[in-house]
């Protein structure tokens, strides 16, 4: 058995077990998440040692069959999902974490299905197969959104699923047109698609569907409500991982499409710039902490999309490597942030930003984790966010793309502005805190949030590893 087939099978099997029995859901879920992380590491080691792997499922070669392509990019993404997953699972396994009002064990099957779908998506080299993985991912993500069972969450879940289905159908229409134009739907057909008018329309439809799923401006309308009304563990997964799946596919297609995908890349960069400004503006005005963090995801997805848009294809790797590092940094930092916000809201009993100035409660580990994550999102050294932005700006300056440099700087300043709204309130000590103020208790959630925030920090120092992995491609 290879790591690739185990890493897609194991989460699905565990999802079945946890859905069947709520009693064993927690231990099985934790073990499966840990085993998935171990498999992700083994997979990355194998890719580092032996180069990219191509597996023809059932022995049928593409285009008739479906292939798994395990290259460096796929390995990095699988590792990202595995690490964020472990932290989120740790928080979710805490008995005291407030759980679904509808079904106490419902988190685990939904999370494991999300994980299995994402692993399958990162490995898949077939357009139609990608569509099916998106459907699992979409349904499981909607379940995670609805987990709290509140009316607001259910409404957000309904809008999310409607938007997700519309996005899926756009994607499916694009795949259908790709079939009509080229007769086959494996990823090797993408370069041919860029050569005909029909093929280009098909790619545009696919990108539009992906933009809905990645909540890329101006198709992000469903996202702030969904991400801010879900339970903290669910928001962390949705914001850190689920939107990345669509961005990953866009990157994959943009790399495969080469120079022919240029108009799509320009559109992505422009939409990304719009998202950065729109998301930052709303984050500056948000009155609730979770809403601020959700709008910050819109802005950060914009930055990543901008980086992908200005990257000129596979041959010149600097810029898209920077984009991938920004994706990793955002995954860790944003998951840490949502988990921290969950803990802060739990201690305070609310998540109003104006109410973060408090006298009776000292800042705890969650506030610290939020601040560290904020440092990474803003892109200060030595975090992964810093390395990603540094490489991106350096690459842009090399190409004399000064407008984009200015936009990236503007986005950075804005992110510093909206995140400092929170950090400046959280970390204030001294006269603002009453002498007898209590300290929040340590919880599993604090460990998870801190662990992720520190991972984002350390990834900046250890960014050689993802860069080395990304060099490995299928030849």
């Amino acid at each position: 058995m290879t790591e690739a087939s185990l890493i897609v099978s194991l989460p699905l099997l565990a999802a079945v077990v946890t859905a069947a029995s709520a009693r064993v859901a927690r231990p099985v879920g934790l073990i499966a998440t840990a085993a998935n992380a171990a498999l992700a590491i083994l997979l990355a080691r194998r890719v580092l040692a032996e180069g990219a792997q191509v597996t023809h499922l059932g022995g049928w070669e593409a285009p008739l069959g479906i292939a798994f392509e395990t290259d460096g990019l796929a390995a990095v993404m699988i590792l990202m999902a595995a690490i964020v997953g472990v932290a989120v699972a740790v928080q979710a396994s805490d008995d005291r974490t407030p759980r679904s009002a509808t079904d106490p064990g419902a988190f685990w099957p939904l999370w494991l299905a999300t994980l299995g779908a994402m692993n399958a998506l990162f490995l898949s080299a077939d357009l139609f197969n990608l569509y099916v993985t998106f459907e699992i991912l979409g349904l499981a993500a909607v379940g995670l959104t609805a987990l709290t069972g509140t009316r607001r969450a259910l409404r957000a879940a309904f809008d999310y699923l409607s938007a997700g289905l519309a996005g899926s159908l756009l994607l499916l229409l694009g795949v259908a047109l790709a079939y009509a134009a080229a007769g086959q739907v494996d990823l090797s057909v993408v370069p041919a698609l860029t050569e005909s008018a029909q093929g280009r329309i098909s790619l545009a439809l696919i990108f539009a569907g992906l933009a809905v799923k990645a909540a890329l401006f101006p198709l992000h309308f469903w996202m702030p409500a969904a991400h801010s009304s879900a339970a903290p563990v669910a928001s962390a997964l949705l914001s850190a991982l689920v939107v990345k799946a669509a961005i990953y596919v866009a990157l994959r297609l943009s790399l495969d499409g080469g120079i022919g995908a240029e108009p799509l890349r320009v559109a992505m960069a422009a939409a990304g710039a719009g998202a950065m400004l729109w998301g930052s503006w709303h984050a500056l005005r948000a009155d609730r902490l979770k809403l601020l963090v959700a709008h910050s995801t819109v802005a950060q997805v914009g930055l990543i999309s901008l980086a992908l848009g200005v990257a000129p294809g596979a041959a010149d790797s600097t810029l898209w490597h920077a984009a991938v590092l920004l994706m990793l940094s955002h995954a860790f930092a944003k998951a840490a942030m949502f988990l921290a916000v969950g803990r802060i809201a739990e201690e305070l009993g609310h998540d109003r930003i104006s109410g973060l100035n408090r006298e009776e409660l000292r800042p705890g580990a969650a506030e610290f984790a939020f601040a560290v994550a904020a440092v990474s999102l803003i892109g200060l050294p030595p975090t992964a966010g810093f390395v990603g932005k540094w490489v991106l700006i350096e690459g842009l300056i090399d190409r004399d793309a000064w407008i984009w440099v200015a936009l990236v700087f503007a986005g950075t300043v804005l992110s510093a502005a909206y995140l400092s709204r929170v950090v400046s309130r959280c970390l204030r000590g001294g006269p603002h805190v009453a002498p007898g103020a209590r300290r929040p208790q340590w919880r599993a959630g604090d460990v998870a949030a801190l662990g992720l925030a520190v991972s984002a920090l350390l990834l900046g120092l250890g960014s050689a590893l993802p860069f080395a992995l990304l060099e490995i491609t299928v030849t």
Binding site: A157, F158, L161, L165, L172, L173, V175, Y179
Partner: protein, 93 residues
């Protein structure tokens, strides 16, 4: 004029009809139905593309895609309807 051309027209028509309804209607149930019609329109242009008028056969691979699409669609429809029942009808107000 060939068979596949007729179904290309019908498929494009169904798609347009569904998009119009999605743009102009707020009722949750009706929007879900419009998404179903949209999916059927897509399946129709897909199968019409796979149809070979000369031999009268259809490529089995898009047939499998259409079948998968039908099953995926009924799953998502059931989930959407369960959510719609919980929030009661209107999709935005």
């Amino acid at each position: 004029m060939t068979t596949d051309l007729v179904y290309h027209v019908a498929g494009a028509g169904l798609t347009g009809l569904a998009l119009w309804r999605l743009a102009t209607c707020r009722d949750a149930l009706r929007r879900i139905m419009a998404l179903n019609v949209l999916a059927i329109g897509i399946a129709m242009v897909l199968l019409a593309s796979g149809f070979d008028a000369a031999t009268g056969r259809t490529d089995p691979v898009p047939q499998a895609f259409a079948l998968t699409g039908i099953v995926v669609l009924v799953s998502v429809t059931a989930a959407l309807l369960a959510l719609a029942e919980r929030i009661g009808g209107r999709s935005n107000d």
